[in-house]
């Protein structure tokens, strides 16, 4: 049985169809990435999956429970971090967690034990008694995550969980996603960060204009749309584009202080760079080959370029 099963979801707002015949299934224990450009229907889909909105047509099952027929039972299975949402600023971190724990029916002793454990995990133990309105954005997001995972949900929904966070907070969020997944939670996440989806997710689904246009593993999606590889190289001094004269290179583009050389034969390009460096008396400061990118596949699928 799939943990999340959505069948033919449809949702319109007036004349605008935000979600159009969306079906998807997420296996137990999977990290599932939901990608799409702005306005593609990601947030509306996640609101339908989490029972915040009711679809015009279609059904959602969480662990086999129909969320629109049995919303409370289905919501007991999940933890949700909606986009831009936060926790109660007037309450302390501890009070926010107690409130959520009560909603999930946790006993007082269970709540106290779990609050301590989770606040320590997220580096908030020393601030547990402070009102959340005094916290930084990263700390608030950590409280928000704590509220979502407090009851050890079977399914974790995250809508743009790392948007606007500093590096440390972002890393903490990603570590938490990994930890929850290792403990058995299925993770459904939307993100703008293609690299994040590439490294975190086992399956990626791309939505555009309310419709799902591709689903598969990141590797499969990359290979479907682009077989070109690239070599990134930098030298100890600036070099002109004209020096890369081999026919094995199909396209050249600058990338900061590096050059990215697109090719179907990276071995030939690497050999060429070696001979070029010797001829021009250049020192290679870095060189790396990379395969087709998920970003490229995403851009092609969504018609962005």
């Amino acid at each position: 049985m799939d943990t999340i099963q959505a069948d033919h979801l449809k949702k319109s707002f007036g004349p605008i169809t935000a979600v159009d015949d969306v079906s998807l299934s997420v296996r137990e224990g999977e990290i599932f990435g939901f990608l799409g450009p702005n306005g593609a229907g990601k947030t509306t889909t996640i609101r339908l999956l989490t029972g915040v909105l009711t679809p015009d047509a279609g059904a959602v099952r969480i662990n086999g429970i129909d969320i629109h027929r049995h919303p409370l039972e289905a919501k007991m299975q999940m933890g949700v971090i909606p986009e831009n949402s936060t926790v109660y600023g007037d309450l302390t971190a501890d009070q926010n967690l107690h409130l959520v724990g009560k909603l999930y029916g946790m006993s007082r002793s269970e709540r106290e034990r779990r609050n301590r454990e989770i606040l320590a995990q997220l580096g908030l133990e020393e601030r547990r008694g402070d009102p959340v309105r005094t916290f930084s954005k990263g700390m608030r997001q950590r409280v928000s995550i704590a509220c979502a995972i407090l009851h050890r949900p079977c399914v974790l929904f995250l809508d743009e969980p790392t948007a606007g966070l500093d590096v440390q907070s972002r890393r903490l969020v990603i570590d938490t996603i990994h930890r929850m997944n290792e403990e058995g939670s299925t993770v459904f996440l939307t993100t703008h960060n293609i690299e994040e989806a590439n490294t975190l997710c086992e399956t990626v689904c791309i939505i555009n204009q309310g419709r799902i246009i591709a689903t598969g593993s990141p590797e499969r999606l990359k290979k479907t749309f682009d077989t070109t590889q690239s070599v990134e190289v930098s030298f100890d001094r600036k070099v002109a584009k004209d020096l890369f004269t081999t026919g094995a290179i199909s396209k050249i583009e600058p990338l900061g202080d590096k050059w990215r050389l697109y090719t179907a034969h990276p071995d030939l390009v690497v050999k060429f760079i070696g001979s070029l460096a010797e001829r021009e008396q250049l020192t290679i400061t870095s060189i790396a080959t990379s395969g087709p990118s998920l970003e490229e596949a995403f851009v092609r699928l969504t018609g962005g370029a």
């Binding site: 029972g51 409370l72 909606p82 936060t86 409130l99 959520v100 009560k102 909603l103 999930y104 929904f157």
Partner: protein, 248 residues
């Protein structure tokens, strides 16, 4: 399994509202200061028999206090981005509405009980019909807490707009409901107008409880107030469902 979860949600939401919203400035201003100033403005310097107007004053206090919390909660939560989060927890929209109403009702009950106890001691008031008096408290506080939630229903994420709408609706009601002009002295259009205000039935029920004199049968007052509670809740649910996305 859904009903215990539903009831738990209502109680936790009510508790959350009590913790967060009771000490917000608009609740203090519209819930406590306004009825006090209205009372002072009407009674100070006038030779009126306070005991005769007390049922109306008690109804006005209950009306203002019970209806002061509800209008604040939904717009405040939409503005602070906690509303969508709340909807994703194991609660339903109906549970949220009832939790909001419960918080308003408890506020109304506590403040009005305090006013009654203090005034009762000072003015040597007695209760003539305890059943009518208790029902006035219970049905009154629920009616106007439900009105508070209804007033918040068209809201987006601007609490001040809702407070303005709420004042626009609440103020006329206190002038047509037999608080400042006793219902027994109203005739013709005045009485007809009073009969469409739910506050009139609360004033009348308090009169029945405290003085034994009412223009409608207490049973009828109770029926009307119970109908008002149900009507306000259903209307609030309908409007909030339509406006769910507003301000998210």
């Amino acid at each position: 399994m859904e009903m215990p979860l539903f009831l738990r949600g209502v109680l936790v939401i009510a508790e959350k509202n009590i913790r967060i919203y009771y000490n917000k400035a608009p609740v203090m201003i519209f819930g406590l200061l306004f009825p006090l100033f209205m009372f002072l403005a009407f009674f100070i310097g006038r030779n009126l028999e306070l005991a005769a107007f007390f049922p109306g004053f008690l109804a006005m206090t209950l009306f203002f206090t019970a209806s002061s919390v509800g209008p604040l909660i939904t717009p405040w939560e939409k503005r602070d981005r906690t509303y969508e989060r709340l909807l994703s927890y194991p609660v339903t929209l109906e549970g949220i509405i009832l939790g909001d109403i419960a918080a308003g009702a408890v506020f109304g009950l506590i403040i009005t009980t305090l006013v009654w106890v203090v005034s009762g001691i000072v003015l040597h008031l007695s209760v003539v019909d305890p059943a009518a008096f208790v029902m006035a408290f219970l049905l009154g506080t629920l009616s106007f807490a439900a009105l508070g939630s209804l007033l918040a229903s068209p809201a987006s994420d601007t609490p001040s707009n809702v407070m303005m709408l709420s004042s626009l609706i609440r103020f006329p009601l206190i002038f047509i409901s037999g608080i400042f002009v006793p219902l027994t002295q109203m005739q013709g259009w005045g009485l007809l107008l009073a009969s469409v205000s739910p506050l009139t039935y609360l004033v009348d029920l308090f009169h029945a409880g405290l003085t034994g004199e009412s223009i409608f049968a207490p049973f009828l007052d109770c029926i009307v107030l119970a109908g008002v509670i149900l009507g306000f809740i259903l209307l609030a649910r309908f409007i909030q469902m339509r406006n769910l996305m507003k301000g998210l």
